[in-house]
């Protein structure tokens, strides 16, 4: 069946919109749940009423956000079925499992203990209440773990834990433990949660600074800021460290993504990182040098090789190499991958046709060819079969431009660089704030307070751009190298997708504004009588 490409773009836009909107609330929940737990722990330890007030104020802000985070989360679980039904069937055997585990292990923990943490102040003992607040935080972060294991599979569907099954024409899971422990998923999880801790720490620091600038709730603000600065300092440094590790994983599993992040059209030894630059959106097949790919750029020499490949002069393939191949470094051209993928698709069809007419010998032959090894790593013994490359068969279609094998460079480049730039600012801000608090000069430092207030929206920009780097950077695949985005969507009439797109957009705009208004009202009102 031919798929309406216009519909595909709308389906992508719908998913992007719902995911980004959801992701405004997720990092806040991840970090704020822990901050509230910290505040409450201090309250229980010291028994001082002022810490209870601090806990309850931040918990109120947390609750306003938590509701919207939950409600926008359910959309994705359903959307995988409604708009990406082919995806759901082809990889559901692997992708569904972490989602179900998330439901069993994490969601109930979150929802159940949230009830005590929010409403149980007078109904349960202090100890039970504190434990519940902690369990709520742990549950939220556990759900991030399982979601990012599922997402890690989409980024790096290794044949260590999956295989394309000829019998059922879909990918099946072969090793659950390898799926959940794969490094791509683990670094992604750590990067995401620490980004959430940074984000919520900036929020608390910024709101506290706002009160200090106004000369209101000074004691409350000082105490809140101290906890936030300490948490934020550790978290923001950790984001950068694990972010580096994350980029290393990307460089070694998704070469098209790392090349797009850095605008590297032509592969190089000792490849640089572009610190600042304006990349052009070019066809890699027409580019001859990296200089023509930028309007202007400032480079840090050798850094991409060092960070991405852990070698001063290591080779990093460019987009052109990934399309046209580079025999010197053993990189296959796309047309070769596409041809193997097409052969796998032919085998699949031949197998089922042979089965249907009862020709067991032909079916067996097709199956043997389907799983035949096309490449083997001599060092590690890692094997690639035709079946592993079945997704590339999509590019055997001569109507498909080979340049579509990588994502558009400018959005991925900008998203990544803005995220990194902001990340460094957050580290500076927290070092400064932490030193000021330790020296006792924070309350007087109006400049620092102003910068903290201005910085409040910035981590949301950083996390959204981080998410865009990961997801746009993965294109043109939903599951990297296995399932093209164009073959993942539900064949629907365009109007259906457009209608639901606007249905959600309207709801999000209204609920989003309502959320902000309520939040501002509570902040303006201040900690006294926040409930």
């Amino acid at each position: 069946m031919t798929l309406d490409l216009n519909m595909l773009e709308w389906a992508r836009a719908q998913f992007a919109m719902t995911a980004l909107f959801h992701f405004f609330f997720v990092p806040f929940t991840l970090g704020m749940s822990f901050l509230v737990a910290f505040f409450e722990t201090i309250y229980v330890k010291t028994g001082k009423q002022e810490w209870k007030e601090i806990t309850q104020f931040w918990q109120t802000l947390f609750g306003i956000n938590f509701a919207l985070g939950l409600s926008t989360g359910i959309i994705h679980e359903f959307e995988f079925g409604t708009n990406w039904s082919t995806y759901s069937w082809v990889v559901g055997d692997i992708f569904g499992a972490p989602l179900a585990v998330e439901g069993i292990i994490a969601f109930f923990m979150e929802a159940t203990f949230a009830a005590i943490s929010f409403f149980g102040w007078k109904r349960v003992s202090k100890g039970v209440h504190l434990a519940s607040t902690w369990l709520l935080a742990i549950g939220s972060n556990l759900s991030a773990l399982w979601i990012l294991i599922a997402n890690g599979f989409m980024q790096h569907p290794s044949n260590e834990f999956m295989q394309f099954d000829i019998e059922t024409s879909r990918a099946v899971m072969t090793n659950f433990w390898a799926l959940i422990t794969q490094p791509v998923a683990q670094v992604k999880f750590l990067h995401t949660i620490s980004a959430g801790y940074t984000l919520s720490s900036i929020f608390v620091l910024g709101i506290s600074s706002f009160y200090l600038l106004k000369g209101k709730h000074v004691d409350f603000a000082k105490k809140s800021a101290a906890v936030a600065a300490a948490f934020g300092l550790v978290a923001s440094i950790f984001v950068a460290v694990i972010g580096d590790e994350h980029a290393y994983e990307v460089a070694n599993t998704q070469p098209t993504k790392i090349a797009s992040m850095e605008g590297l059209y032509v592969g190089e030894k000792g490849a640089p990182i572009v610190a600042v630059g304006i990349p052009k959106n070019l066809k890699a097949t027409e580019v001859t040098s990296n200089d023509e790919a930028f309007v202007f750029k400032i480079e840090l020499p050798h850094m991409l090789s060092i960070l991405g490949k852990h070698g001063f002069d290591a080779y990093v393939p460019g987009l052109k190499d990934l399309v046209e191949g580079n025999p010197e470094y053993g990189i296959w051209p796309l047309h070769k991958l596409a041809q193997i993928g097409q052969e796998a698709r032919n085998d699949l069809r031949a197998y089922h046709e042979a089965k249907a007419r009862g020709d067991e010998a032909a079916a067996e032959a097709a199956k043997r060819d389907f799983y035949s090894v096309v490449w083997q790593d001599e060092k590690t013994g890692l094997k690639i079969t035709k079946a592993d490359l079945i997704g590339y068969g999509f590019f055997a279609n001569t109507n498909v431009d080979p340049n579509l094998i990588y994502p558009p460079v400018p959005p991925v480049f900008y998203a990544f660089h803005i995220m990194v730039g902001l990340g460094f600012w957050f580290i500076l801000l927290f070092i400064w704030a932490w030193l000021a608090i330790v020296k006792g000069s924070f309350v007087e430092n109006k400049l620092l307070q102003k910068l903290a207030v201005i910085s409040v929206p910035l981590p949301w920009i950083a996390t959204s751009f981080g998410w865009m780097t990961a997801e746009i950077g993965r294109q043109p695949w939903t599951v990297f190298g296995v399932l093209p985005t164009a073959e993942s969507a539900t064949p629907l009439a365009l109007a259906n997708v457009q209608a639901t797109f606007f249905m959600f957009l309207t709801a999000f705009v209204i609920l989003g504004i309502a959320e902000l208004k309520i939040l501002f009202t509570v902040v303006k009102h201040g900690p006294k009588g926040a409930h």
Binding site: I74, G81, G96, I510
Partner: protein, 399 residues
């Protein structure tokens, strides 16, 4: 076109049955938790602000669990029967989208309804809660109805082409046809929708009677008992239609040992299912029904506030049996009237043996989860029902 069932060995089949039973249990628990949705349609029984906030706070502490149960119900179906997820969600697009939308609107309404600066005003959020309680419940009920009446699709497992609306004499509204296509059982689907809605509403009233201080809110409690009585009549009518349908309609069937997995129509199929396995399904179903009605009589017609205990347990049993007879004993749980052989069975739509096995190990956590949920409910409940004092207390985080 026929396809061979994916089941190749007995262990795989038992895992499929095990997972269908888990889905059935989750379905039953979800029906119990719909007391939140039912309760949301009862705000008009409150005659003043305090009564309204009593309802809001009682339900507001539980909505997340209903929500989570729905999410897990979806997640379990995704992991265990991914082809159902793909065909039903992608095919009956509008049914699921509207259900989804109803739940998205619900989630924030509790938190935002009584907050200052909520932009669209209290009544808008109250409307969202009614919308979720009425539209959400009717649609979910009707969607479960199509597990028996079938849907309008063909599916080719090799090319993975799903086509919705392929029956020549059918209507294609991406799922919404289930409510208007009377040739293909719309009357049954609608009756299921009304049944689920009425059952949820009664459960909602029973829950509120139990959870709100009866001495402080005597008038509200009396009005809630009135709702139960009126709603019970609606429930009985819908129930009779559904039972009539279940017993008289031709059911979809296949032989679990037939390697071709051929699907055919069998008169009285669902009655046969109720009577199979030593009539245990029928016994459980009747026990559930008796318990449900007993709860209604205790708290709707009598003066007890413990009706929810009986009706709650009853609805869980009924829910389990409904899913069991829809999917076990050689019954395609998501049949197609456009092409019988495209119908989904637990065998041809399931995850791989390996995945089901892994997930079966994970499912060991379920009793533990149920355990802490019950413990938390007990902790929250032991301090007594919701009182005026608690609602007025600024430190109780009341809505």
């Amino acid at each position: 076109m026929t396809w061979a069932p994916f089941t190749v060995d007995a262990t795989h089949f038992y895992l499929q049955v095990y997972w269908w039973i888990i889905v059935a249990v989750l379905g039953g628990l979800f029906l119990l938790m719909t007391f939140v949705q039912g309760g949301q349609t009862l705000f008009h029984t409150a005659k003043d602000e305090t009564e309204e906030r009593a309802i809001l706070n009682s339900l507001g502490r539980k909505w997340e669990l209903t929500f989570t149960t729905l999410v897990l119900f979806g997640g379990a179906l995704y992991a265990a029967f991914p082809l159902f997820y793909s065909v039903s969600f992608g095919g009956a697009y509008w049914v699921w989208m509207l259900i989804l939308f109803a739940f998205v609107l619900q989630a924030v309404s509790y938190e935002y309804m009584n907050k200052k600066g909520n932009l669209i005003g209290k009544n808008a959020y109250k409307f969202f809660l009614y919308f979720n309680g009425v539209v959400g419940m009717v649609l979910i009920g009707a969607a479960v109805g199509t597990f028996f009446t079938g849907s309008n699709f063909t599916y080719d497992p090799v090319t993975k082409v799903l086509e919705w609306g392929t029956a020549k004499d059918g209507i294609n509204l991406r799922g919404l046809e289930a409510a208007i296509d009377f040739k293909h059982g719309a009357w049954f689907n609608l009756a299921m929708g009304v049944l689920v809605f009425a059952a949820a509403r009664i459960l909602g009233a029973l829950w509120l009677i139990n959870d709100i201080d009866n001495n402080e809110f005597p008038e509200l409690i009396a009005r809630l008992r009135g709702v139960i009585k009126r709603c019970f009549i609606v429930l009985l009518v819908a129930l009779l239609i559904v039972l009539f349908g279940l017993i008289t309609m031709k059911g979809y069937a296949y032989d679990i040992h037939d390697p071709s997995g051929k699907v055919y129509l069998e008169p009285g199929k669902y009655l046969h299912n109720l009577l199979s396995f030593g009539a245990i399904p029928l016994i459980l179903f009747l026990a559930g029904l008796v318990l449900y009605v007993l709860g209604v009589f205790k708290s709707g017609f009598g003066n007890s506030n413990r009706g929810i205990w009986f009706s709650g347990l009853g609805i869980v049993l009924i829910g389990i049996v409904v899913f069991v007879i829809a999917g076990l004993f050689g019954t395609p749980f998501y049949p197609s009237y456009a092409d019988l052989q495209s119908s989904l069975t637990i065998q041809n739509s399931s995850g791989s043996k390996y995945t089901l096995e892994v997930m079966a190990w994970v499912s060991i956590a379920v009793p533990f989860v149920l355990g802490y949920i019950i413990w938390v409910w007990y902790q929250m409940k032991k301090a007594g029902p919701i009182t005026k004092e608690e609602i007025a207390d600024p430190e109780s985080h009341a809505y």
